[in-house]
Amino acid sequence: MNGKPLLDPAVLAKLGGLKLRVRAITEGVLTGLHRSPHHGQSVEFAEHREYAPGDELRHLDWKAYGKFDRYYIKRYEQETNLRAHLVVDASGSMGFRGSEDRLTKLEYASALAASMAWLLVRQQDAAGLLIANDKVLRTIPPRAAASHVSNLVEALEQSTPAGETRLGAALDWLVENSRRRAVVAVFSDLLDADPDVMKRIAQLAKRKHEVTLFHVLDPAELEFPYDDPTLFTSMEDGRSVEATGRDVRRGYLEELNRWLAEVRRAAAEADVDYALCRTDAPLDAVLLPFIARRARHAA
């Protein structure tokens, strides 16, 4: 059992709402917080620095020039220019959970996304949200205000798994609406009807966005613990198939592992950070490495 019981998905599953979960999660991972390394536009002046060629002229302190007849550049503390887009897949397949005591994949992804938003906003980074299935269901532009997190949590709480997975729609929306370089975190099981979804994610990375793919899967999907004759029905369309679990397990796992390897390879080629998230794994095991990676990139 994890040393931080509140980060255990089994415990989180018993918590009533997403807000409570976010609080539990963030308290668990607060020790990993950092100050924003960015210096840019903000409200609190920090110091003057002598102008050097290449500095933006709009940061020149004309008053100081008047006084001292020298060019100084203004610097501000606790400012940030990080914008994060949290893309959450809310298709039907995300409603799956292999066991009653676990979170559904959407709940797990929502908890991750909300916790991440809270942590980002807490350090003055802007976090936005995009919920999609085969179309964009809801968008919240990135903001760094503390009250903004509540909007995000609320939106995530209201989302329900339905429809087919077509992340392409969400990614297209991002390409069109996020011209500035940003962090994009995608929470999905990638069981997409579009076989080229990884190419769409790669296109996003090519546009200088820092893309992190949180591949959320249930342990039952990874291990296929079924033995008996079972009528498997699709969660996104009307397909179904009757099979005896022990007869098809070997073939299923072979197909699954081949697919996972392909996703990993495509992510690595596109310079996309990839994290496989089992819904029975503690959330800090996912969040802390992400935060650490962010710190490295910023430095």
Binding site: K105, D218, E221, Y226, F232, S234, V241, G251, E254, L256
Partner: protein
């Protein structure tokens, strides 16, 4: 072919074969619905394994059904029968006679076991399958069929007799044995109303049946009827290829050497392929002293016989054991044939020349000496003149040739002693002989008293050759003439005799041993060669001369072997003809002298048989010796007892052969046999070979059990994988 069941009621057990279907239909688990996201992977996995899984399910279902069905069918004891056999199968109980073939060919090894062992198992199984109300008896078919008991219900005794039965090396006449069985079934009036069945457990070799004889019939209240005959084929229809030695004829062959023998070996093959370079071996001696004397190769055509001639010169004389052998095959009985030979020992002969001449052709003894001294002759002759006879010590000789000796009287007594102690005396006549004086000097040593010289024709006179006498009558069966066979006799019969001495009729009346025997006579009836036993020895009187003076025999081809033969006969080195090897189970005579008895027989297995064990070999004492019916093929030795004690007598050793007729293992056509026995209505062949005959019953239960077992293991394997 009809499928019959011994226990048809148990076929209800076949319903158990539907159990897998019932279980499948009634207890099939319903699929539990489950919403699952990664259904694409399941669909792909199922597509890959669907065909294999469906096949596995079908195989599993089939294996389980087969296991249950095979067990149910096996318990019902099915068998395949021809429609005729099924129709004619007796409905009521039958009196049964089981005939067990114990002939030599049943020692054939097939699949690691002898056919006799298989036949015993078949007979035991048949006995066990008889109904409790069916009386039975057993006929063991060896050289002489055992007279069977009337059919009875003593199953334990029958089983014990069956277990105790042993194969023989003898010929078995199955026609006779089936006849004996039919007689046994005819005996009881109490069983008259019953069906009659004869079960014959045999190997189906063609030589065992005489289909030209009447088929077996059983006497019934309404007259003779054909019994039902079931032949239990121990060979299971398999061909029985065999190569063996059928016969060996051993004859002295002077061309090979002094003690040379020629062996005419008849080889037989029952196989469908010709045999090339079949190695034939001749071993001399017995036991650890046996040595391979020669090796040869023979070709034998398919299913036929061939002759091979080999020769060997023995280094020593006396009784000698010889073994001719082929490489051992499935039927070992006929692969080796022992022989006991009397190899002539060296004979020391004294030739007394009564009319020597510096011209060899006119010398009285030149032709005889040349004949006896030839390189192939076992005789070592010494030549002396008639005058030197008086000073010669005769004790160092086996035989003395008196050739035209004028006055042998000076040595009369010594000659008598020589003959009486076992030596020989040959008396040849001529112009030096005075018949009356000769009678006076030699007395009763002479086989017949001499009378006068008869001149058939004057040599050299015109027409003399036509008027010359010839040998007209010869005792060809006498050992002295044993080598003259076929055209070789012409060499003796063609000789011309111009002059010879007539003898007086025999007036002497002595005991049997003293009586003279004319073994060759001229065409006028006058004796030409007379043999007489004197004491332990012999005297031969030749009434003409042994040079060219009175006849031309000396230049005939028959002269040389005849002289050597006479020398051997007179020396006791050529006894009466050795009897050919005895066939196993046949009577063998053992000649014994006065005061001698058979103490024991030593068989080919090295075991000594005395007392009661001798009786088991058919031993009986007769006036002049004993007779025995040895069963085991090989070399038998006789231990004799006399006043001095017991010892093995090599001269009495004898060879016993497996009956050569048993070497023919060619298979009898089943159709012929069933036709002779009365057709498929009353006769059938059981065994794998019977399939072609159209009339067998095939037990299938064991095959079904094996099938069920295989299905059981297959089911386990399918479940495990």
């Amino acid at each position: 072919m009809n499928l019959q069941f011994l226990n048809p009621a148990l076929l209800w057990g076949l319903l158990a074969a539907s159990l897998p279907l019932v279980v499948h239909l009634l207890f099939r688990r319903r699929a539990r619905p489950l919403a699952f996201p990664a259904i694409d992977f399941i669909l792909r996995a199922r597509r890959q394994t669907e065909r294999r899984l469906r096949l596995k399910r079908i195989l599993l279902f089939a294996a389980r059904t087969l296991v249950l069905a095979a067990i149910a069918l096996a318990i019902a004891r099915p068998k395949l029968e021809s429609p005729a056999a099924a129709a004619e199968a007796p409905r009521g109980p039958s009196a049964v006679a089981i005939v067990l073939d114990a002939s030599g060919s049943m020692s054939y090894r097939l699949g690691g076991r002898t056919l006799f062992e298989r036949a015993k198992e078949d007979a035991a199984a048949a006995l066990a399958s008889l109904g409790a109300e069916e009386p039975a008896t057993l006929v063991l078919c060896g050289a002489i069929p055992t007279p069977p008991e009337p059919p009875g219900f003593e199953r334990v005794a029958l089983r014990r007799a069956l277990d105790a039965a042993e194969p023989t090396a003898a010929f078995a006449d199955l026609t006779s044995c089936v006849g004996v069985a039919a007689q046994a079934l005819s005996g009881s009036e109490a069983q008259a109303a019953m069906g009659k069945r004869i079960l014959v457990a045999t190997d189906m070799t063609r030589g065992a049946w005489r289909l030209d004889q009447p088929p077996p019939m059983v006497r019934g209240p309404a007259g003779p009827v054909r019994p039902e005959v079931v032949v239990l084929d121990a060979a299971r229809g398999a061909a029985l290829p065999n190569a063996g030695i059928l016969a060996v004829d051993a004859q002295p062959d002077p061309s090979v050497g002094p003690r040379g023998f020629r062996f005419q070996v008849e080889l037989g093959s029952s196989g469908s392929e010709p045999l090339k370079d079949l190695p034939l071996q001749l071993r001399v001696g017995s036991g650890a002293d046996a040595k391979t004397a020669l090796r040869a190769f023979a070709d034998v055509p398919a299913a036929a016989s061939a002759r091979k001639s080999v020769a060997h010169a023995f280094p020593q004389g006396g009784p000698t054991t010889v073994l001719l052998s082929l490489p051992e095959d499935a039927l070992a009985l006929d692969d080796a044939r022992p022989l006991v030979l009397d190899v002539p020992r060296e004979v020391r002969a004294l030739i007394v020349d009564g009319a020597p001449s510096p011209i060899k052709l006119r010398d009285e003894a030149w032709f005889v000496e040349a004949a006896l001294a030839s390189s192939a002759s076992p005789v070592r002759p010494k030549l002396i003149d008639g005058e030197a006879l008086a000073s010669e010590d005769l004790s160092g000789y086996d035989v003395v040739f008196l050739l035209n000796v004028r006055s042998p009287g000076v040595k009369g007594a010594e000659l008598r002693r020589l003959v009486e102690r076992g030596g020989g005396l040959f008396i040849g006549l001529g112009d030096q002989i005075d018949p009356d004086r000769y009678g006076d000097e030699l007395g009763d040593l002479l086989p017949l008293p001499l009378h006068v010289v008869k001149t058939a024709a004057e040599r050299g006179a015109p027409g003399a050759e036509a008027r010359a006498a010839h040998v007209g009558e010869v005792a060809w069966d006498h050992p002295a003439f044993g080598i003259f066979q076929g055209t070789a006799r012409e060499g003796l019969l063609g000789a011309r005799f111009f002059r010879y001495v007539l003898t007086r009729p025999v007036s002497r009346k002595g005991n049997g041993a003293e009586v003279s025997k004319v073994i060759a006579a001229f065409d006028d009836g006058a004796p030409a060669l007379v043999e007489a036993r004197r004491g332990a020895g012999r005297v031969l009187l030749f009434t003409s001369s042994v040079d060219l003076e009175w006849n031309d025999w000396a230049i005939r081809t028959s002269f040389l072997p005849a002289m050597q033969r006479f020398a051997a006969l007179l020396a006791g080195a050529l006894e009466e003809r050795r009897e050919p090897p005895t066939v196993a189970g046949a009577e063998k005579r053992i000649p014994l002298g006065d005061g001698r008895k058979v103490a024991a027989l030593v068989g080919p297995d090295g075991r000594e048989r005395r007392g009661g064990q001798l009786e088991a070999e058919g031993f009986e004492e007769t006036g002049a010796g004993a007779t025995v019916r040895p069963r085991l093929p090989g070399l038998w030795q006789v231990r004799v007892a006399d006043r001095t004690g017991e010892r093995l007598d090599p001269k009495l050793a004898f060879a016993v052969w497996a009956d050569p007729r048993e070497s023919d293992t060619r298979r009898l056509a089943e159709g012929e046999l069933t036709a002779w026995l009365g057709g498929e209505k009353v006769a059938r062949i059981e065994g794998e070979g019977g399939k072609s005959s159209g009339g067998p019953a095939i037990p299938l239960w064991s095959i079904l059990l094996v099938l069920g077992l295989a299905a059981f293991f297959a089911e386990g394997l399918l479940v495990a994988t």
